[in-house]
Amino acid sequence: MERQQIIAQVTDIFRDVLDNDDITLTDATTARDVEDWDSLNHIQLVVGIEKHFKIRFAAKEIHSWQNVGELVDSVAGKL
């Protein structure tokens, strides 16, 4: 799957989980840039991504990403 495709699908998951259709993600987006992306919702986002791509993140990965780009790298590495 292309990176762009992954970002697009991850964006959809963010919009769904955070209930906000205005969210646009780029590689450089961080939690600070997105309203409601707090540590709690992060868990729900991670589980949503796992379910969508049928992957599992290791416990230490979940809080290791500095931005969306690194998260997408993680996803891409498992597909």
Binding site: D16, L40, I43, V46
Partner: protein, 573 residues
């Protein structure tokens, strides 16, 4: 069941029109998502849950400290979730003999409840039981080692059940059964736990929340009381009208086992106090035949409170059943294999619960188990008896429907009444009626047992108690009359009261016939009645005029010389 994201969305909806309920949630792990799921499920159940959530791992402090936020919040409903993971931690550090671990833990849980109940005696505690974790230190042998974690965890769940059986306000939310259903892999996600201290996976949150709401809802008095069954391909396999009684699948025939087991389930519900009704598109006599004659049928006619089989549409028929039972549509469940019928009924009566039965009858039961349709918060021996009363009432109503003429109906009931003066055996019941009857009560004079004994012994008074029994059942003692000699010619009706359970059976006529003939035999010329209005006894304002008494100032007089017996279908026993 909605998923977590959708339950969470409910929190943004306007719940102000829904019934508000204050709830406190305390847990020894992170409960933020659980709190949201419960609130979201509350909305689905029609409640505006005001949920206060304790900070993580504060159960004991919040309970023990009288000035804590928990006590300040003052919720009558408290949910406590102490997880098996933390329990394992406690077990690992337990100082005493591990054999005593479960008992020790139960004592702390009892202490929590006792403290809460001492602050507010009406508090209701919903306690989550323990999901199984096998630390596999012993393998299968753990079952033989009383000190093993598995042994102590399972024991604690049993101790909790025993404790809850004795403490009415201590309710167990059986999340262990949820884990059994979905499996531990779906219930618990280690990576989420390590990162967030949450022991419930996001996927399983709705199931836990709905399970919790089942109890909350039942505590509000809202629970299902009746199950309505379709017959063909729901209660048995095949179509009775086409296949005939020999060929319907039940018992050993075809996939009959699926239907037999389904029927055993319904029978257990019935024995527990759930009313069972039938609503089927069939010719009635054909539909009843298996219940009466098929040797493998588990359900018999006596299990069915209302049997409706005809070719009318099911919406009308279910309305009819509801009318007979006189319970809310929102407490009824309709089971039908046919999606078309289900949709029609759902559309016609939206309050009704209509499960989307799987296509394969083999899966009916497993699916129905997951829905937790018959939550309750009480079970007494009386429940089964109450069903019998509903059934009796339903049978009467069903019979009434068959008669276009009310007299024919009354005739057919085969009513008999035992008429007796007050005795030491019936006085307690007479006193109870005298204290409680408000509506059908002409003068509303209240008598105690001692008063009644004095009246029974008085030469100036004549006492009457009436029972009423019909072919469906015995209503017991339901009517009381006390006559007082006013003059050698006049008997005054000091008391005439009747239980409203037996309205419209012609009991008034029978009562008057009885006392009029008594008065005549004793040589009196008049019966004199009085109506004293109260806020509640308007239904008998015209009682004496309807029975042919003539107005006499504020009172009513009946001339016994001209009295002719009123029409009555009740025989004196």
């Amino acid at each position: 069941m909605k998923d977590f994201a959708n339950l969470k969305r409910n929190l943004k909806k306007d719940a102000s029109a829904l019934k508000p309920i204050n709830v406190a949630l305390l847990g020894d792990t992170a409960t933020q998502f659980l709190a949201k799921a419960i609130q979201g499920a509350g909305y689905e159940y029609g409640y505006n849950l005001q949920l206060w959530e304790a900070d993580f791992n504060q159960v004991e402090r919040q309970v023990a400290d009288p000035s804590s936020e928990l006590h300040e919040y003052g919720a009558e409903l408290i949910i406590i979730f102490q997880s098996s993971h933390k329990l394992l931690g406690k077990y690992n550090k337990f100082k005493g003999s591990h054999t005593a671990f479960a008992a020790d833990e139960l004592n702390s849980i009892k202490a929590i409840y006792d403290t809460l109940a001492s602050v507010n005696p009406k508090v209701k505690l919903i306690y989550y039981n323990y999901t199984e974790i096998d630390d596999n230190v012993f393998g299968n042998y753990a079952n033989k080692v009383t000190s093993s974690y598995l042994f102590q965890l399972r024991k604690l769940n049993v101790l909790l059940m025993e404790y809850a059986a004795d403490v009415p306000n201590f309710h167990i939310c059986d999340i262990s059964s949820v884990q059994n259903l979905v499996g531990k892999a779906a219930f618990f996600q280690p990576s989420v736990y390590i990162n967030s201290e949450m022991v419930l996976s996001i996927e399983v949150l709705p199931a836990i929340a709905y399970k919790t709401l089942g109890i909350i809802s039942a505590l509000q008095g809202k629970f299902n009381k009746c199950v309505i069954l379709d017959l063909d391909n729901t209660t048995w396999g095949g179509i009775i009208g086409d296949d005939g009684i020999e060929n319907i699948q039940i018992g050993a025939l075809g996939i009959g086992k699926a239907f037999s087991e389904f029927q055993y389930w319904v029978k257990k519900l019935k024995n527990r106090g759930i009313i069972v009704a039938v609503c089927s598109k069939n010719t009635e006599s054909i539909a009843m035949e298996p219940f009466e004659k098929h040797p493998d049928m588990v359900l018999k006619m006596e299990d069915i409170a209302v049997f409706v089989a005809n070719w009318e549409n099911k919406v009308d028929n279910i309305r009819k059943i509801q009318g007979i039972l006189n319970i809310g549509f929102d407490s009824m469940v309709f089971l039908d294999d046919n999606p078309f019928e289900r949709n029609m009924v759902r559309e016609g009566i939206p309050q009704l619960t209509v499960p989307e039965l799987p296509e394969d009858p083999a899966e009916y039961l497993e699916y129905l188990y997951t829905l937790n349709l018959f939550e309750t918060i009480s079970f007494t021996e009386d429940d089964a008896a109450r069903t019998k009363q509903y059934q009796v009432e339903a049978q009467r109503a069903t019979l009434f429907e068959k008669f276009t003429n009310e007299d024919d109906f009354l005739q057919n009931l085969n009513m008999v009444s035992v008429v007796e003066p007050f005795t030491k055996f019936n006085t307690p019941r007479v006193a109870q009626l005298s204290q409680r009857s408000n509506q059908f009560n002409l003068r509303t004079v209240r008598y105690t047992e001692a008063d009644l004994e004095a009246l029974a012994a008085s030469p100036r008074h004549f006492t009457f108690s009436f029972t009423l029994e019909d072919k469906f059942g015995n209503n017991g003692l339901i009517c009381v009359v006390i006559l007082q000699q006013e003059s050698p010619e006049v008997l005054f009706i000091d008391t005439w009261l009747m239980s409203c359970r037996v309205l419209k059976r012609g009991m008034e006529n029978f009562t008057l016939n009885t006392i009029a003939s008594f008065a005549q035999q004793k040589g009196y010329k008049y019966l004199k009645g009085e109506y004293i209005a109260t806020p509640k006894n308007g239904m008998v304002a015209d009682h004496y005029s309807k029975l042919g008494f003539e107005p006499d100032g504020d009172n009513w007089l009946l001339n016994l010389n001209q009295y002719q017996d009123k029409k009555s279908f009740i025989d004196k026993k």
